[in-house]
């Protein structure tokens, strides 16, 4: 009987125990392989989504963009704005294909526990976000409004309806609604740029009037909260960035930086998941060790017979180690199969725990991940099997034969 068949026979002698060990190995390998594949797929997905956005750079007012976003959501006064002249300077650059100005402002509704976010845009945004699917039409009048998909659900409003803004006594005609984009675009009330500038200028003016210590704001038309830029050639970003940085009061955010921020935000969640996987791996390794060690204890007499009939220590060591390796490899194969078959389901669970997940598949089943998992499986087999194999090999034949 060959070593291989002998080892297999020993494993099948305790089917339940072997099966349970295989299950734990399978799960550990499946989770590890999915996480490794997920890491690559996530980064690739984010990159492709950012590229698909068609925006290569953002020009925003100097300051912390997170603070600005927080202020908008809370309805606070922005610490600074981009001057409208910045748009002209951006558009003068030969490398810039599209420059879309925007003005974002929030109207807080504390009794509803939400903030209506208005985004003033012009037709350049439509050129920039050419993946938008718009039902209805584009702005023609100052009080035209386009609703993001989520807003249509919250306000139960669609093309042909009207939206009233009591804070400014303004009535908007809903002329368009966006089909779901799966992005933050779904949550905005879109109005013409000049309308948004005027709306929030009036709000600030009223606020300044109420608070006599506050200076009246600059004219609304002079202010922008961002300029989104698409370059003719994305590789020109390093050339354009310093030029944009020369604009007074402007800060440039490249998509590369945005990707880095997103990846670092994901880092902590990923670290948590990897910690959990490490624990699963340790438990499964201990499971393998326990299974093989118990098998060695139960077969002490058998090992004694083998040694007495001529088997060397190397033979016994090799046999037990082979059993462990086979157990690990079978579990590994099962885990890889499970990961491939159940990638979508596992992906759904993993995505739930990670922030800023891009749309579409974020699991990339790659050979590199396969090799890492194979190495991990062999590692577990070799390490977990070493002690039981050593113990079996060191058994003295006389004592082994005496054992019950």
């Amino acid at each position: 009987m060959s070593f291989f068949r002998f080892a297999l026979k020993n494993l099948f002698a305790h089917r339940t125990r072997t099966a349970l060990t295989l299950v734990s190995m399978t799960v550990a390998v499946a989770v590890l392989f999915t996480l490794l594949s997920f890491n690559r797929g996530y980064e690739r997905g984010l990159k492709s989504q950012l590229q698909a956005m068609g925006i290569h750079m953002l020009v925003v007012p100097v300051g912390c963009p997170y603070e600005a976003a927080s202020l908008i959501i809370k309805g606070g006064k922005m610490p600074g704005y981009l001057p409208a002249s910045a748009l002209d300077k951006v558009r003068e650059m030969d490398e810039v294909a599209v420059a879309a100005p925007s003005y974002m402002g929030g109207i807080v509704r504390p009794e509803e526990g939400r903030t209506d976010i208005y985004l003033g845009i012009d037709s350049a945004t439509l050129a920039l976000k050419n993946w938008w699917k718009l039902r209805g039409r584009w702005f023609e009048k100052p009080n035209d409004m386009i609703l993001g998909y989520d807003v249509t659900l919250v306000e139960l409003s669609h093309v042909g309806d009207q939206i009233y803004l009591p804070e400014l006594d303004m009535t908007f005609d809903v002329v368009g609604e966006l089909e779901p984009t799966g992005t933050e675009d779904d949550g905005f009330f879109y109005v013409p740029l000049a309308t948004a500038q005027e709306m929030f200028y009036r709000l600030e003016k009223e606020q300044a009037g109420a608070d006599s210590g506050t200076a009246a704001p600059a004219r609304g038309q002079d202010r922008l909260t961002a300029i989104s830029i698409r370059l003719r050639n994305p590789d020109d970003a390093p050339i354009v960035t310093p030029k944009l940085g020369e604009i007074k009061g402007a800060e440039v955010i490249t998509m590369g930086e945005l990707l880095g921020t997103m990846m670092s935000l994901m880092g902590s969640a990923k670290a948590l998941l990897l910690s959990i996987v490490t624990i699963i791996i340790v438990i499964s390794a201990l499971g393998v060790l326990n299974t093989v060690l118990m098998s060695v204890f139960e077969r002490t007499r058998e090992i004694g017979v083998m040694r007495a009939t001529g088997a060397s220590q190397v033979h016994v060591f090799g046999l037990v180690w082979l059993e462990t390796l086979m157990l690990s490899l079978l579990g590994g194969a099962g885990g890889l199969g499970l990961a491939v078959v159940g990638a979508r389901a596992i992906e759904g669970v993993v995505k739930r725990f990670l922030p800023l997940a891009p749309r579409g598949s974020v699991v990339a089943l790659e050979p590199a991940a396969f090799l890492i998992v194979l190495g991990f499986v062999l590692g577990i087999g070799l390490v977990a099997g070493f002690y039981p194999a050593l113990r079996a090999a060191r058994a003295r034949p006389i004592e082994a034969l005496r054992s019950e």
Binding site: R109, G113, E155, L156, Y164, P166, T171
Partner: protein, 194 residues
């Protein structure tokens, strides 16, 4: 030229059309969250505690409700939420919420009902969210108070049993009125199964 209190046929037609459109629009609304339970309980019942009861809409229930309402439930109205309010161990009323379409966006209504010999009647109606021009009038006692004591089979048409909150607020008023009737019908249907 002689003027009378009656409106012309064309204006009545226009008015009826507006009410019909409003009723159909209001019927499209879905159920919503109860945003300020403590404040509403204090205003309606004085004191009390509440619990949340979920009830699934079976096909037979849906058919009965839609037959009584005269219009279809929203596709997402597959479950209703009831908030029975207790003072000690005694049930003092049940609160329900509804989001319907007004003239300028969604109107969220909170309705408290109590059981009477003739069926469920309205104890109180409150508006928890809207963006209507006639916001104050819509939330006024003059408008909302007229629903108090009404049952599901009473009149709920604005202009014929219900007075609009303000001139020009007929669509929003009808949205509120339709929501109240809808919740009463739903309440009675689920009560009937108990």
């Amino acid at each position: 030229m002689v003027t009378t209190g009656r409106s012309s046929p064309s204006s009545r037609f226009g008015y009826s059309l507006a009410v019909l459109v409003a009723a159909a629009a209001a019927a499209r609304g879905g159920l919503c969250v109860w945003r300020s339970p403590d404040a509403d309980i204090a205003a309606i019942f004085g004191t009390g505690t509440y619990k949340t009861v979920f009830e699934d809409v079976t096909e037979s229930r849906q058919a009965r409700i839609e037959e009584r309402l005269g219009f279809e439930l929203d596709p997402d109205e597959t479950q209703f939420k009831f908030f029975p309010v207790f003072e000690g161990d005694s049930l003092v009323g049940t609160v329900m919420t509804h989001a319907g379409k007004g003239q300028f966006g969604a109107i969220e209504v909170v309705v408290a009902v109590v059981d009477s010999d003739s069926g469920a009647v309205v104890l109180e109606v409150r508006i928890q969210r809207d963006r209507e021009k006639a916001k104050q009038a819509l939330r006024s006692e003059a408008f909302l108070g007229q629903f108090r004591g009404r049952g599901a089979d009473d009149g709920y048409t604005v202009g014929a049993g219900v007075t609009a909150a303000a001139p020009g607020a007929e669509v929003a008023s009808q949205a509120v009125s339709t929501a109240v009737r809808k919740l009463l019908v739903v309440y009675e249907e689920f009560q009937g199964d108990e």
